[in-house]
């Protein structure tokens, strides 16, 4: 066992070293070609491609690479090919800033990234001085966009989802709603707080709000309290494994009403496991930006292209990576067509930032535009369950 592991580590280390050399060589090459011409547009792509959160980084990367490949095969932008400078930050904030500085040295004119919230905040702080146009596919922390006007995100935030679902509850005519959420999670707490606040404004009574600690498996006592208040619906904005247990236990306690959730529900059915039965989920709702059951043409085209390229079904993160690349490249296209700013200059970067802020992208996770901040104004899907399958109930326009 021991020798095996060390041998594997050795091979891994060797491979990493080899890749490092390869990258260094690439960097050197592109550096020398840079000076001679600007017949390519160089943008950075960063994220965690090794380590604990590599799954998210890689998913975003595959999505972004697919979009860039599609643009390049259609002749690029203004006749110029897009060149991706891809860097691994290993999920670490310090490493992320190093990677960012490397990208600046390499002369990129925009960055797709970072992926998770903590390193993205570090990069956002570092990027203000360069006014570097950046689009993060997936970092939801509020801080990310607060340091400068150059940082944008493609995803919707936790509070946005809470507000959206409270509005939806009001639209559905629910008078009283119970809430159950993981008090040990930033995501769950963020969505639940915003939901409760907005519900109050919309005249939906939160009859009971119950928290539970991370890792809990027994929700019976909280659910008993909620059910005693006889709500029209229960809002459970948690991750799908907890949501599955909550729905199942509530049904056993005799609750027959509707459940609502947020995008943490995305894998509750349709993956390797069904976390709640079709019968228990019938007529429940949750919001999300991307679901493969969406019959929208551009979504289905994306899923097909992704399958052709990687032989795999794209996740929400792949779709966000694709859209982040679209947002940035749309802006670059606007600037290139305009033709006023010199490639790589400060004016060029400012022009890209302005173009992102005023532009639109018809992404696979929704129609995206910006209104004065780095948070997107974006359409969101409400998903419902019918006979064990998910379908789009309606599309809520962004505001």
């Amino acid at each position: 066992m021991n020798t095996n592991i060390s041998r594997r580590n050795f091979v891994k280390a060797g491979a990493v070293a080899g890749m490092g050399l390869g990258l260094a060589a690439c960097g050197g090459n592109s550096g020398s070609s840079d000076g001679s011409s600007s017949d390519t547009i160089k943008i950075g792509l960063m994220g965690p491609y090794t380590g604990d959160v590599a799954q998210y980084g890689l998913a975003c990367r595959y999505g972004a690479e697919l979009y860039v490949k599609q643009v390049n095969s259609n002749g690029g932008i203004n006749g110029k090919q897009i060149e991706l400078d891809t860097q691994d930050e290993k999920g670490d904030a310090t490493e992320a800033v190093n990677v960012y500085n490397k990208l600046v040295e390499d002369g990129v004119v925009g960055i797709i990234g970072d992926v998770t919230s903590t390193p993205t905040i570090a990069v956002a702080q570092a990027s203000v001085k360069d006014n570097m146009p950046c689009v993060t596919p997936s970092a939801t922390a509020a801080d990310v966009i607060s340091y400068g006007k150059n940082y944008f995100r493609a995803c919707i935030t936790d509070p946005y989802q809470g507000k959206l679902m409270a509005d939806f509850a009001a639209d559905q005519g629910y008078k009283t709603v119970g809430v159950i959420y993981n008090q040990g999670g930033d995501y769950e707490q963020g969505v639940a707080d915003a939901f409760i606040e907005e519900a109050g404004k919309k005249g939906v009574t939160v009859s009971d709000s119950e928290g539970y600690p991370s890792g809990a498996t027994d929700f019976n006592s909280q659910l008993t309290n909620i059910i005693a208040t006889n709500p029209d619906a229960i809002f459970s904005p948690n991750y799908y494994q907890d949501d599955g247990k909550i729905v199942t236990q509530a049904r056993k306690l005799g609750y027959t009403g509707v459940f609502m959730g947020a995008d943490g529900w995305s894998n509750i059915v349709g993956g390797d496991e069904e976390y709640a039965s079709a019968e228990d989920l019938e007529g429940c709702y949750y919001d999300c930006s991307f679901v493969s059951e969406n019959e929208d043409e551009k979504v289905q085209d994306f899923i097909k292209a992704y399958k052709d390229e990687y032989n795999d079904t794209p996740s929400n993160f792949c779709a966000l990576g694709y859209d982040a690349a679209m947002i940035l490249l749309n802006a670059i296209e606007t600037v290139e067509k305009d033709g006023k700013a010199t490639y790589g200059s400060d004016d060029y970067k400012q022009a890209i930032v302005d173009a992102v802020a005023s532009g639109t992208a018809n992404g696979v996770t929704g129609d995206i535009s910006y209104s004065g901040t780095g948070d997107p104004v974006k359409s969101t899907l409400i998903i419902t369950f019918k006979g064990g399958a998910q379908e789009v109930f309606k599309t809520v326009e962004g505001k």
Partner: protein, 314 residues
């Protein structure tokens, strides 16, 4: 919207002022407490059995339950076989695993200091958790319902069939176990070994077999616990045994480790404490309250509620 008062006043608010705390809610919460407490009691019985005989805190006990839950998942979800077979295989598998762990990990250390045994138990626990993660992955697996039993409604109280089965099975297990230890020859051998291993050996008792039998009994309880747990919470994860095992350990110590009725009382106490804390809106504190209960008992009555006072040599 009325602003939500903080937790304890909120309890007063909803219960007393708004009279929402009707009998139905209280009865349902009592039933919730009984169900959760019964599962803890059953697991605590396994701890107590093994500790009573060889003074070993078998920290792998919770992880044996985890393996039992995965066996049910494999049999029903992967192989699509009969639920009854799943129940039988889970219990037999757990019993076999318990005996195997004893033979491989604990038997070579019979004469070693107790600390070595304890550390080995922790090692076995880690081995099982990480082994399961390697084989099954970190994602939760869904154990299908064994039987599709409807909930009954009696006077507005929704009685889940699972809760009733859990409570009844635990009660029967406790009675059978008491008879086994007090009235049978094997039980007599177990009690003899726990009194004095050397003297028992001189009296012609096969100590190793008796200990293995104890492990088998303890692990059968773990297997039953795995089935009841899967029935109630329907998901198997590699780490599910950690918290369950720790809480059941607390229950066993609370009741007086080594005592069968003590384990049941301890289990029910822990279950009720958790449900009560959640019911009054302080659910984030439920783990803290359980461990606080342990500290109080250890300070006031170190041998637990039903434990025999004894001089400790550790």
């Amino acid at each position: 919207m009325r602003t939500q008062p903080p937790a304890l006043p909120r309890f007063y608010w909803t219960c007393v002022r708004e009279r929402k705390c009707c009998a139905v809610t209280i009865l349902t919460q009592v039933l919730n407490g009984l169900q959760l407490g019964s599962i803890y009691a059953l697991v605590a019985l396994g701890y107590t059995m093994v500790y009573g005989i060889i003074l070993l805190l078998n920290f792998a006990h919770g992880d044996i339950i985890m393996v039992g839950a995965y066996i049910s998942w494999i049999v029903m979800s992967q192989l699509g076989l009969n639920p009854v077979l799943a129940i039988v295989l889970s219990i037999v598998g757990c019993a076999g695993l318990g005996v195997l762990i004893d033979k491989v990990a604990y038997q070579p250390l019979r004469e070693a200091p107790r600390m070595s045994l304890l550390i080995t138990a922790i090692g076995v626990s880690y081995f099982l958790e990480n082994g399961a993660q390697l084989v099954f992955g970190a994602d939760a697996k869904v154990v299908p319902e064994y039987f599709d039993l409807p909930s009954m409604s009696v006077g507005g109280v929704s009685l889940s069939a699972n809760a009733i089965i859990t409570i009844v099975v635990t009660a029967i297990s406790t009675i059978v176990l008491t008879i086994l230890v007090q009235k049978t020859k094997l039980g007599k051998a177990m009690r003899a070994v726990s009194e004095d291993m050397g003297a028992a050996r001189l009296m012609g008792i096969n100590v190793n077999n008796t200990i293995s039998f104890t492990f088998a009994v303890g692990s059968v309880l773990a297997g039953i616990g795995a089935v009841l747990y899967s029935m109630a919470y329907s998901q198997a994860t590699p780490t599910m045994g950690i918290m369950l095992g720790t809480k059941a350990f607390v229950a066993a110590v609370l009741g007086g480790i080594g005592s069968i009725p003590g384990a049941v009382i301890g289990g029910l106490l822990v279950g009720f404490a958790e449900v009560f804390v959640s019911a009054i809106g302080l659910s984030v504190w439920q783990d803290a309250v359980v461990f606080l209960l342990l500290i109080i008992v250890l300070v006031v009555r170190p041998t637990g509620i039903l434990g025999r006072p004894m001089t400790e040599k550790v």
